[in-house]
Symmetry: C2
Subunit: 104 residues, 2 copies
């Protein structure tokens, strides 16, 4: 996991913040599968993820349509259902437009 190499803005970011349940059964496999699958989607630009007390995953996308398509992807829908039922106590998804970036 490294800092995502995203293009010059504007582009879009989905901030997914979550609190896990104690149930880890199947979680790691599903999480890894979703990252692999996201990477194959049109408009995918990169992903960053970290977890200790809470988890934050930020995925980067070319446009809102790519985000919508990924949200509605059949396998992703199954994962979302499992997430609500088994793995997450709470989560929040924020759809954002990246207007500016810098770094070193």
């Amino acid at each position: 996991m490294t800092i995502a190499k995203t293009p010059k803005p504007p582009y879009f970011a989905v901030i997914f913040t979550s609190v896990k349940t104690n149930n880890d059964k199947g979680y790691k496999e599903m999480a890894e599968l979703m990252v692999a699958l996201a990477k194959q989607q049109d408009g995918f630009l990169g992903i960053e993820s970290a977890r200790n007390e809470i988890g934050i995953t930020v995925s980067y996308w070319k446009d809102l349509e790519s985000i919508r398509n990924w949200k509605n992807h059949v396998d992703h829908k199954v994962a979302q259902k499992g997430g609500k039922k088994e793995w997450y106590k709470a989560y929040k998804v924020r759809i954002t437009k990246v207007e500016r970036d810098y770094g070193f």
Copy 2:
């Protein structure tokens, strides 16, 4: 650390992604001080943070002016300088506008 209780969009998010050096001297103190200080700023709405391989801190703000003021805050400038010199191998800052959010 919990999921930030942010208001109805639109609002703004600063995604700060970083890779640490092995130098932890003074890091924790400075990071905690910066969170405490950010919370006192006008326009601050919340903060979320997680770290394992990489660190992701997302702070939420009312508007771009609040973000600009926080970026230029004297004590924050000192921390940024220390960050570049001592604590971070690399980082990226992304200024984003939150257009939509949902969760459970």
